[in-house]
Amino acid sequence: MNHSIIQAIKYSLLIILLVFASCDKIDEEERLVPAGAKAQWEEGSGVDDKTQRTLLEKYTGVGCINCPIADINIHKADSAMGGRLIAVSIHDFSSTLTSPVDATSPDLRTEVGQVWSSFFGITQLPMALVGRNRKASDWAMYNPADASLVMPSISDALDQPNVAALAVKAVKNGDDIDITVDLEYLQDLTDSLTVTLFIMEDSIRATQKNGHNIDTNYIHNHILRDAITDPWGALVDDGRTSNVVNAGTKRRGSFTYTPSKDWRLDRCHIVAYLSNYASKRIYNAAKCDIE
């Protein structure tokens, strides 16, 4: 056998090994995994504040030198929107840029961040999605370090029909947090909706690369800590008896969650957002402190 034949066989075997490796094995005892906090749904009393808000997901990393600029741009937008924007900073596991810069810094990465990041195909940092909108067939993503892109994307997300008003309330109950979500449908809807809850924390000191500098006292705000429900939400039991849920329907969902003792709850917020189960598009969002 000549050299080229041996080479061809070697490369072929390598390709076959690589492709065969592309196969996941899940043992029987691992087929079911916890799905997050459960909701108890009942008839609600409505929502006084009918404001439509949207969620800005900023995928970021402590080793990402342009991410602090994005923080500034988003903070400005947040101030300008008068509470209609809820921003969350997400650190996933897909890049070395999200690993703690030094050994004393806290690890801001989360599993739920990785789930979302993989699903939306985040390949570079910083990157943002607002309202999980689509642009043609792709997710509408943009670089929030470019200030000119931030406000238009928020306007696009809010330039959608307000299908339901949403409010969230969180009360500490021993080691748990009791969370109540109120919904009031503002339009007749045939879509299946989900409510997703997560907890985020402000004022976390962790080393951050910033341009050519390394800032050991960088203050990180609205850091995603955990999803309270399943990462893709809990289906809203809207009590519909036909394909349509009517405008004016009021529902209340109750959840219980046990937070980590490592977090400062006085600096934490609970965020709820309402989204389309199939398309993932976010219709409304709400945020509250933990009482």
Binding site: S4, S12, V19, S22, D24, R31, A35, V115, S137, P231
Partner: protein
């Protein structure tokens, strides 16, 4: 402005350079097809009026070829999609584009492509415009022949989903022609080709909610699922033997109710042919071989990565094809025998011109599935999402899905008249269409007479009868006993005129008359029709599309250059 002028100049230079190198030579070919229909409400057959008056499907394929290089695109328009095609097709645009470079031993395609590994058990990306299927992969496809007799293929891409691209498919395939590889066997009468393929799909795991079944838990879904197959093609003189065996990893999906169950498929075909006789025997067994790019996909024709070959006859006569078999990718097993024999001319049975006999029979059943529970759960959870679903004995058959037998006798009665007579018997279980109800038993008789008046004028008469034990209960409008007549006149080699009527005379409803006229000149054909279409399904190769009832005009134009 200055920028634009510079850009234009650069483009001119590039084009003139390209032409100078002969790159702009080559030739362009293409084809166009426009189909349109109108429909109005008809309470008897269940047709609805179209709010837009007319629906239209149209497409144009353009192919540019220059030596080893080719590039093409397809423009499609669904304004709005014709009845029976998915509403997601609505719109128009470039649906397919590619560039390809191909030599004898190497080929590479970027863009959309169609591909098949073996018989398709692991991968078949294909298009069938009449079924509304287009599983084209957009990505890269490479073929390489490192040595004579060895062909390697590799591909990666996303599948077309109406106007979107979804999923991620990776695959490799290798095929060895033993007779080409080994010079000593080059002229051997025995020919052997061996092949193997592996295909893997990736899909991020997003919330499959099984809360209603198991409080507080969800499924841990595999993001990467692989399927592998081995195959052979052996022939010796008039004998042939083809076989393919495939296995697939756990692949919970909507169609299999999110069970974790290995897929398995085996397909075997043995054939013999000599002058005046050919015989073919096929067998297959399919277990959980639904392999799709998107696990939650509900449309039966969308997002399939693989294809299960059909082993039932593709009938062409109306009543024999009224209940076509739809492949059950979740599980089925079956046999088909097909014999074609020509009785010699100038014999007692053969007559002056000889007689053609075509005998075909097939039977398809489900698998014998015994539900199993997820470990540690009570038996009420058997077959539920997260469990292994079921166990099944390899050789034990389940419920009968479909069986048919048909004999066609065709004989020239004179130099100008040919008669084909067919008898067929079809047993059909509505469960294959997802319905419940009794199994139908249908007897069909067809007489098809072709009278060649002269070189340019041909008359054809067709009469069909179907006797069925099915009765119309307000649901299936194919039920009952039917008769049909058809007259078709082809004149001047360019025009044709056809009139037909199908009538349910007992235990059924409907009188479906149709008129059509067409004209063909060169590569262009234009056809107008008016009539009623009965609701039902059409299947090609075991893959089916629902056809709703319609009552109105149809128009079709095809041309190529």
């Amino acid at each position: 402005m200055k920028k634009h002028i510079l850009l234009l100049l650069a483009l001119c230079v590039a084009v003139s350079t390209a032409m100078g190198q002969g790159i702009m030579g080559g030739h362009v070919t293409g084809n166009f097809q426009i189909d349109a229909q109108t429909s109005r409400e008809d309470s008897v057959i269940g047709s609805k009026s179209l709010p837009e008056i007319m629906h239209l499907n149209a497409r144009g394929d353009i192919l540019y070829t220059n030596g080893n290089f080719s590039a093409g695109l397809r423009y499609e328009a669904y304004l709005n999609p014709m009845e029976g095609f998915r509403p997601e097709y609505e719109g128009q645009g470039i649906a397919n584009y590619f560039a390809s470079y191909k030599t004898k031993d190497f080929a590479i395609t970027a863009g959309h492509f169609y591909e098949q590994f073996g018989n398709g058990l692991t991968l078949r990306a294909y298009e069938d415009r009449y079924l509304g299927i287009d599983n084209a992969i957009r990505g890269f496809n490479v073929m390489y022949r490192p040595f004579r007799g060895i062909t390697l293929k590799g591909l990666i891409g996303q599948q077309r989903y109406f106007w979107d691209q979804r999923g991620l498919v990776r695959g490799i395939d290798g095929e060895v022609s033993v007779n080409e590889l080994l010079a000593s066997l080059a002229e051997a009468k025995t020919r052997l080709t061996l092949g193997a393929s592996f295909v893997s799909k990736y899909e991020a795991t997003s919330g499959i909610n099984v809360d209603s079944y198991l409080d507080g838990f969800k499924l841990n879904l595999p993001a990467n699922v692989g399927a592998a197959a081995v195959r052979m093609d052996l022939s010796h003189g008039g004998f042939g033997l083809q076989a393919e065996y495939a296995r697939k990893g756990d692949d919970p999906c909507d169609l299999n109710n999110y069970i974790y169950h290995k897929g398995e498929a085996i397909w075997v075909s043995a054939s013999y042919s000599q002058k005046g006789l050919s015989a073919n025997l096929q067998a297959k067994r399919i277990e959980n071989m639904c392999f799709r790019s998107v696990r939650s996909e509900k449309y039966p024709e969308a997002m399939y990565i693989n294809y299960i070959p059909a082993i039932t006859k593709q009938h062409t006569y109306a009543f024999l094809s009224m209940y076509p078999y739809q492949t059950q990718t979740d599980g089925e097993m079956g046999l088909q025998a097909d014999v074609i024999y020509k009785i010699k001319k100038e014999t007692l049975l053969g007559g002056k011109y000889g007689t053609d006999l075509h005998l075909n029979a097939s039977v398809i059943t489900g698998l014998d599935m015994q539900p199993v529970a997820l470990s540690g759960l009570d038996t009420a959870m058997t077959g539920a999402p997260g469990s292994s679903g079921y166990s099944s004995d390899f050789f034990k058959a389940g419920d009968l899905y479909y069986a048919d037998a048909s004999l066609e006798v065709a004989r020239k009665l004179s130099s100008k008249v040919k008669l084909a007579a067919t008898y067929g018997y079809v047993v059909y279980n509505p469960v294959v269409e997802g319905h419940t109800g009794d199994i139908h038993h249908n007897h069909v008789v067809v007489a098809d007479l072709t009278w060649k008046l002269n070189r340019k004028n041909v008359l054809r008469f067709e009469g069909e009868w179907m006797g069925s034990d099915s009765k119309y209960d307000g649901e299936d409008k194919r039920s009952g006993d039917w008769i049909m007549g058809l007259v078709e006149y082809n004149f001047t080699s360019k025009w044709f005129f056809c009139v037909s009527d199908q009538y349910a005379y007992n235990d059924g409803v409907g009188n479906y008359y149709n008129l059509s006229v067409g004209y063909t000149t060169g590569a262009t054909r234009i056809q107008f029709g008016y009539g009623k279409q009965r609701e039902g399904i059409i299947c090609i190769g075991g893959v089916c599309r629902t056809v709703p009832a319609s009552n109105g005009f149809t128009f079709s134009l095809t041309t190529s250059f």
